[in-house]
Assembly symmetry: C2
Homo-oligomer: 204 residues x 2
DNA sequence: CTGAATGGATAGCGGCACTCTCTACTATCC
DNA sequence: GGATAGTAGAGAGTGCCGCTATCCATTCAG
């Protein structure tokens, strides 16, 4: 309960309707919002500040869904102070070019592309200078996944539901994806070199 | 530089060879390890404690690659104190059954399955009680991705390289995957409702 | 009228990732 | 040989973040 007060103070939850100077009323919408916040924090691993940004993006009324999705994506893709390797930047640009994407002259323009370039930069730094070869198969697999995401979102009724589904689908989806990827790795690994189940795996 | 001293103290880096009581020598291997640590922290977003676990898993000599992969996966899948929804647990079990996986009687046995169950639990809590419909298409896409990962790892020479590639591929791969997924979303979104580029997207 | 509870605001706490400082020593340059 | 600069190692301190505890005035129930 004190946590809720804290969230109210931080502006993550709208203030309740004051029925009297010391009694505020919170409706179903408040509860829903609270659960969304908890979901973003617990599963998405977002900081309070980031949650605030995401909520702001959600609450902006006068934007197209497409833009809103973009805003949410920007918000949840922290910049990470890694310095970019020019070669990694080139990798990203080449990837875009291959996909017939818009030019993407400046990778740092968007947090998402910046994040991608940063990841590839670090990969290079560790000596993995062909990590970008994975981009194409990744995209191939992700097209299937993104299509499923869109279908899922489309199955939602109201506009509010769609927006929330976008956020949830993106953030919880990331976590689910991570987990299922681990399972897929385990499956393939078992098929190739396998011995015994991977599940509990002897620690230490 | 003080950070390196800190990492040494925390046991993330092996102590250098003391050439004299106040002079230690660090070789290429140390540098490589340091860069790996920075990669795990910066891109993987792991805490110092988690990095220690991952390194411990890497450094354990007497285990099969398969088990080592499992250990790393366990280490980087934080439990998250979300309480599990029994229905979500059932979803996970049904998913396993569908894939002809090992029984998976206890979801909490592995951090990975626990993570998956936790994510689905939270989804249910927010009213998304059909999120598990996404599991199958996710796996379908991820099979392509996992295959690419395995091919990538197989292209590495020494055993040490393979192990590191596993870790890097898993953790940096997660980040890359996240970013590319955003791009795929943007692509599909543009195709469906699109207007204008998503990239910079007007914030606020 | 009294006691329990609430909203609002301020201050405090615990954990984490560093960062600073201090000591004891050594290697080096005049 | 002596002054200077540099390093290892260890403990304490710092800043931020996400809460949590306390306080006060009000107010509602009995």
């Amino acid at each position: 309960m004190p946590t809720i007060k804290y969230y109210l103070r931080e502006g993550l939850l709208p203030a309740g309707v004051l029925t009297s100077p010391n009694q505020a009323h919170y409706d179903e919408e408040h509860l829903r919002r609270l659960r969304l916040v908890r979901a973003l924090v617990d599963v998405g691993g977002l900081s309070i500040a980031l949650v605030r940004e995401v909520l702001a993006a959600i609450d902006t009324r006068d934007e197209s869904l497409h833009n809103k999705l973009g805003a949410v994506q920007e918000a949840i893709s922290q910049p990470s102070a890694v310095e970019l390797d020019p070669l990694a930047v080139k990798d990203v640009q080449a990837f875009f070019a291959r996909q017939g994407e818009t030019e993407c002259a400046d990778v740092t323009e968007s947090n998402v592309t910046h994040m991608l370039a940063a990841a590839l930069s670090v990969a290079r730094l560790i000596g993995h200078d062909h990590f970008h070869d994975l981009l194409d198969p990744y995209l191939e697999g992700l097209k299937i996944i993104a299509q499923a995401d869109v279908d899922y979102i489309a199955g939602r009724g109201s506009r509010d539901d769609v927006i929330e589904a976008m956020v949830v689908g993106t953030l919880i989806g990331d976590t689910v994806l991570k987990a299922v990827r681990r399972l897929a790795h385990a499956q393939v690994s078992r098929a190739v070199i396998g011995d015994g189940p991977v599940g509990p795996a002897s620690r230490n």
